[in-house]
Each structure stands twice: as C-alpha cells, then as structure tokens.
C-alpha cells in the first residue's frame, strides 16, 4: 500500500509541476516524461527480464516513423496514426524477438544492434519517403487531435503526463503481478524457471514485445509533440540512451527510468552551460555510478532502505 502511495505521489507532483515551472523547464519536463516512457519500455526488457538489447532505437523510431509517415503521407487522422505507432513498435519487437531470442547475452546484444542498424540504413536509403538524414516536420494539422493541439505547451505537457502515467502505472502493475514475478525469475535463472514449468521463450518474447510497444508509443508521441521525425532517432545513440537512463536511475525499478532520464537530461544541460567538454562530465558521472551504485540510484535505495520497492 505504501509503495502504491509513493508512486501516486510522484504522479501528483508531476501533474502539479506544470503550473509552477517556467517555460523553459516546462518544455523540458514534457520531453523528459516522454523519454522516460521510452526508458520504462526499455526497463521492462532489460531491468525486469534481463534482456539487454542494443537495438531499441528500432522500436522507438519505428513507432515514430509509423505515426509520422501515416499522418504526413498516408493522410491518416493523427489519433489513428498515434495508435499505429505503438502497434508498429510492438510488432517490430515481436518479429525481432522471434529471431534474436534464439540467442542470449552478447549475441543477443549484437543481433538486436544489427536489426536496428539495418532499420537506420533503410531510413537513409529510402530518403524519398523518409526525408533521409534530415527527416521531415509535421504540419500544424498533423499535430491536432480533436480539439487538442499538441503544439500548445499546456496540451503537450498533459499529453506527455498521460502517456508517462499510463506507462508507469502499467509497469507498476506488471512488477507486482504473477507475470512480473516470472519475468524476474527468467532474469535471475532461466533454466530453473523452465524447470518450474514455464515456457521461458514465450515469457521473454512477451517482455520484448511489450517493451517495444511502450517504446513505440513514446516515439510516436515524441514525433507528434515536437513536430519532427528524423533519422537520428533511429541511430545507435538512441539505443544506448535508455540503457544509460535506466542504469542511472535503477534497473528493475518502476521509478528508476524517470529519475535517470531527468538527472541525465539536466546533467547534460548543466554541463554544456559550463564547459564544451560536457561528454567528459557525463562519462565521469557514469564511472562514479559503476563504482559506487552499480544497481543505480534506486537500486541503492532498495538495497539499504526500502527492500520492497518495486
């Protein structure tokens, strides 16, 4: 009960923040919530199920391009295209999973990376449709869902908040469910889990597909919110970023993705304001993290203070 209250309190703070934040941080917060949703998706595969993918940009950008192209060139209603984004992310993850989950460990990392790179190259190759490296912007009409205009900051914040809230509560429900317990068991010892009568391949495929679905939802929303769809979102950088966010915040925790995403966002923001060597600062922080909190900040909290943190 206390744990559910804690998570609801975090959501309440996020909902209240939009009334007090100055414009600059207001936009940042909306961006952080969408990216944190992406991190939640990544965390379901990596943190809970032990599947370290280096190809999640495929699912994030897959959702973004599915929605963006359907609105921009397919002439779809934005809300319908927004539904197609997560479905594309989930379908891509399921398809990749059917092949990649035959491998494990480093091989799984390489196979997922390979699929994501192939997708990135395909986007560049078919530049006639995708805009290649430059991508394409979405017009005002493409960003209106009914009476709501995602170009408006308040609407944008609310949309990001609703997306993040749904993903976070979904992740919380999963972590406390029987399915969540099986996913953690697969992470901890797959062979033992199989000998308890679980089809571990199916469990991993489910986790990866759900992870892709949430990543795709984040990508689709991100595209509509900021009116831009670009090839850089399919690059390896966007596969590594959620890994860093989750590691910083705490893998296998519900709130870790938000904490890690927000901290890293403002760390880069601050570091680039004081030095041109901002990457150096980020690197130093990651080294400190590995040395002193290898399970992330909330992993540290869980180890020492709140054992039952989901």
């Amino acid at each position: 009960m206390r744990m559910i209250a804690l998570h609801l309190a975090v959501l309440a703070v996020l909902a209240a923040l939009q009334f007090v934040l100055p414009a600059y941080h207001h936009t940042n917060a909306a961006r952080i919530m969408v990216l944190a949703t992406y991190a939640i998706g990544f965390n379901i595969a990596f943190g809970y199920s032990g599947l370290l993918s280096l190809g999640h940009a495929l699912f994030f950008a897959g959702g973004m391009y599915a929605t963006g192209l359907l609105v921009d060139q397919g002439g779809w209603q934005p809300w319908l295209a927004l539904v197609a984004g997560p479905l594309a992310g989930g379908a891509l993850a399921a398809a990749v999973g059917l092949l990649a989950l035959r491998t494990a460990g480093p091989a799984f990392m390489i196979v997922t990376l390979m699929f994501a790179q192939a997708f990135h190259l395909a986007i560049l190759y078919w530049g006639r449709f995708t805009g290649g490296d430059e991508g394409f912007t979405l017009s005002g009409a493409a960003r209106r869902i009914g009476a709501f205009d995602l170009a408006d900051p308040a609407t944008r914040y609310t949309a990001a908040f609703l997306l993040f809230g749904a993903a976070m509560l979904g992740c919380l429900a999963l972590a406390r469910s029987r399915t969540g317990r099986v996913l953690v068991a697969v992470r901890e010892n797959e062979e033992r889990t199989r000998m308890l009568g679980y089809d571990t391949f199916r469990a991993k495929l489910f986790a990866l597909a759900l992870s892709g679905l949430i990543s795709g939802a984040a990508g689709a929303t991100y595209g509509l919110m900021f009116g831009y769809v670009g090839g850089s979102f399919a690059s390896i950088q966007y596969s590594i970023l959620p890994l860093i966010w989750v590691l910083l915040g705490g893998a296998g925790t519900v709130l870790g993705p938000l904490l890690g995403t927000a901290l890293m966002f403002y760390l880069i923001d601050w570091a680039s304001s004081v030095t041109t060597a901002s990457q150096f600062v980020v690197g130093a922080v990651l080294i400190l993290l590995v040395l002193f909190a290898p399970r992330g900040l909330l992993g540290l909290v869980r180890d020492h203070a709140m054992r039952r943190l989901p």
């Binding site: 029987r178 317990r181 099986v182 010892n189 033992r192 000998m195 009568g197």
Partner: protein
C-alpha cells in the same frame, strides 16, 4: 500399470555412452532410488526423464502418454517435477517469491495462502520474507523441495537431496518424503546408502550407462554383481 515407462533410452555425448539402452519403470506411489558409481549415468537418466536433455533413441511414456518429444516445461505441467542437485533456488528473491513461482504455476487462486501452506509443509514459514540466498544450506535444500512439491507433481525427482545436510536434518527429510507417498511418486538419486536402504521400496542400479540390477533393498544388498561394481564387496 506403470506411472512412467521408459524403453530403450540412449544418450551419447560424443564417444561417451552416458545412457546406453535403458528400460526403466516407476510404479505409482512408490519411492524408487537410483544408485550407481560416479559417472554411471544417473543424472543423465533423470535429465532424459525430466526433459532437460533430449533422448537420441527410445521412448518415454508418462501415465500412458508419449512424452518423449515434450520440452521440459511442458513435462512439468504433465506432473513431473525436478528438484536440482546443486541448490538452485533464486538467491536474490525472497523465500516467498521462490515458492510462489511454483504455486502460481500450479494455478492457485489465493497465492498468499497457498504459498504459506507450501512453506509450512517443510517448516520454512518463518523465513518467508528473507532472501533465499541468506538461508542456511539445509534450509535452501528444503526450499528446493518445497518448490518441487508446490508444483503438485505426480512424480517428484530428487537429485541428491541429502547432500550437505546434517544428521538431524536427514531424519526430518526422511519423514517428509515418507509423508508424500502414495499421493506422489518419488524418484531419488542418492549417494547416502543409509537413506536409500531406509526409504526406497525399489532400487535401480546403473553402471556404465546400463541397468545393472533392479530390486528391493534386501535383494540389491545381496546381489553379487552390484557388490562387485559398487558396494565394494
């Protein structure tokens, strides 16, 4: 009728004939011990029965159904549970979560109550909230058995269950196993001859991947071939 019926099982690893044409039967409700010198093929045989290792030749029938090609997780659902030789609980999960994984697989509605009952069966109810890795060795072995039992199996395979247990714990273990039959059939791989002779109703002796002898404890003790190969007679 046999609960389990294996015919002509073969499993070679390269040139090593780990299991080389074994017929094996389990009667419903019996305690059956599998013994033999190191490298006789005991672990390979139960690996074939539980589905962890695929058979190269032969058939396995369980309760009249051919399960030779079924993967391990599906055999668990048929009612074959396997408790590991090396303690293989989930050390970073609580004792409760370890057993709950087995209980929810068996399809319990009230997970908390059913898990509590499964823990109480082996006397671990006080340890529910502790990390399984923090339990004593003997308690981890009991937890392993609790997980096997919570699957509500019809056949429970115990791979060296008393290894590393103190004398007092072994007595408790024997009482526990005796209380399971005849509802559950038990197949025991065991090195401790005292436990085998005391518990088992029938014994199968493996040597070099083949069945050397089969019979009651008294019959096995008197068998000359077994004495030569194994008991050091």
């Amino acid at each position: 009728m046999s609960l389990l019926e294996a015919r002509g099982l073969v499993r070679h690893f390269g040139g090593l004939r780990a299991i080389d044409g074994v017929d094996f039967d389990l009667a419903p409700g019996e305690i059956h011990a599998l013994i033999g010198p190191n490298g006789a093929g005991k672990s390979t045989l139960v690996g074939l029965l539980s589905g962890r290792i695929p058979a190269q030749e032969g058939t396995i029938r369980f309760d009249g159904r051919d399960i030779t090609r079924l993967p391990a997780h599906a055999r668990v659902r048929c009612g074959i549970a396997y408790a590991f030789q090396i303690t293989s609980v989930f050390p970073r999960l609580t004792t409760f979560d370890n057993v709950a994984l087995a209980v929810q697989r068996a399809g319990a509605r009230n997970l908390a109550a059913a898990t509590g009952a499964a823990l109480a069966r082996v006397g671990l109810e006080a340890e529910a909230d502790r990390m399984a890795g923090a339990l004593s060795y003997g308690h981890q072995r009991l937890l392993e058995i609790a997980m096997g039992l919570a699957l509500e199996p019809r056949l429970l395979i115990l791979d060296e269950p008393t290894q590393g247990l103190a004398a007092g714990e072994i007595e408790g273990f024997k009482t526990l196993v005796r209380g399971l039959v005849p509802r559950v059939t038990v197949l025991l791989i065991e090195h401790n001859m005292e436990v085998v002779m005391d518990l088992a109703e029938r014994i199968t002796v493996l040597n070099n991947g083949r069945v050397l002898a089969q019979g009651t404890p008294a019959g096995i003790r008197a068998d000359r071939a077994v004495q030569a190969a194994y008991l050091g007679g």
